[in-house]
Symmetry: C2
Subunit: 208 residues, 2 copies
């Protein structure tokens, strides 16, 4: 299983989204949509072993986590509007910290990055923070391929990962080994980073 956590620093938490303005009034929800497509789609199919968790931190309600499960997902096409529409349906459900399914394979609850880290660290998953100062992914794959087994990748949106979320990660780093991995010299869009993570780790699997 591969999980991706994407932090949407301004992405709204209410269902009053205009699908015609995902970039603006929805708080750069377009970034989240592209990340969902990059995580889940291959040509003519879906990666059934992938979960995407988008952490929405914008107004009007408490932070929410919307999870897309590749295994159970239906009604998703690769375009931004399609992902936006499923996010909208999820955000229209009443606020609750217990996960509810909004459409097949899409689930919503209130929660933060900390909620997810707490859960994944209990499951002994390999938590990997994508960080431009981290170890290069190819070097890491060569030297320490085990860290890419059952991975949970954490990525920021266009604003990156802000101080409050770094603090959460720092607290967990004391007891739990969070790896920092980078992808090269160029700063890329978050969705492009996800495509490259898949590419590098698919390659690894293929080579074996």
């Amino acid at each position: 299983m591969k999980d991706f956590i994407i932090i949407g620093n301004k992405a709204v938490t209410g269902g009053k989204i205009s699908l015609n303005d995902l970039c603006g009034s929805a708080g750069r929800m377009d970034v989240m949509c592209r990340c969902i497509t990059a995580s889940l789609f291959v040509s003519f199919g879906m990666r059934r072993d992938v979960n995407v968790h988008i952490v929405l931190k914008g107004p009007p309600s408490n932070p929410k986590i919307v999870r897309f499960s590749g295994e159970y997902l239906r009604y998703l096409n690769p375009d931004e509007r399609s992902a936006g529409s499923l996010i909208q349906k999820a955000l229209l459900l009443p606020e609750n910290d217990i996960e509810k399914e909004s459409t097949p394979g899409v689930y919503v609850r209130t929660g933060t990055l900390e909620t997810l880290i707490r859960e994944f660290s209990k499951e002994n998953r390999n938590i990997i923070l994508m960080d431009e100062n981290g170890q290069n992914i190819r070097e890491a794959i060569n030297k320490n391929p085990n860290i890419f087994e059952n991975p949970v990748y954490i990525l920021g949106d266009n604003q990156g990962i802000l101080e409050e979320d770094f603090e959460i990660l720092k607290n967990y780093e004391k007891e739990y080994d969070i790896k920092k991995i980078s992808l090269g010299e160029k700063s890329l869009l978050t969705s492009q980073c996800i495509t490259i993570i898949h590419y590098e780790t698919d390659f690894e699997t293929t080579e074996k």
Copy 2:
């Protein structure tokens, strides 16, 4: 300079596009939009050395080429709707085989894949067809890095490259060396392929 040619087999050639239905009535224009973003954007910036040529082959008019020039482009954001809106403005100009600028850095004319191949082969550019049966890109970069200098990459949309365009390429292959390059075992979305081409060839440049 890096050029990308993307074939839009059903993508419409008229300006009556609904930006709310890029996938449907606009003939999978969403694929073209994602390819434009993948070709041109990095985080907080644009690849100024890239041109993207989308070849639109759908109704109602003759096939058209819309060119996005990274060097001169303005008013493009990474979301699909933004690219769709600039394509729409280009398609609203009267049909003409002489290239006209529709918005800064976006140009339109009637033309086909053949028009482009004829021009690029005269310029002695390295023409590279992305083909799942081609040589793996990493192997090619190691053995023959020169072919990635001044490259022109050709990619199909969700339908791939159809027989009529393969025929054009076959005709040119007789006199002109068109390389076939693949990206790995998995079939990916065209936009994902573009991200990986950049990644592999950025890496090459960085390593030198």
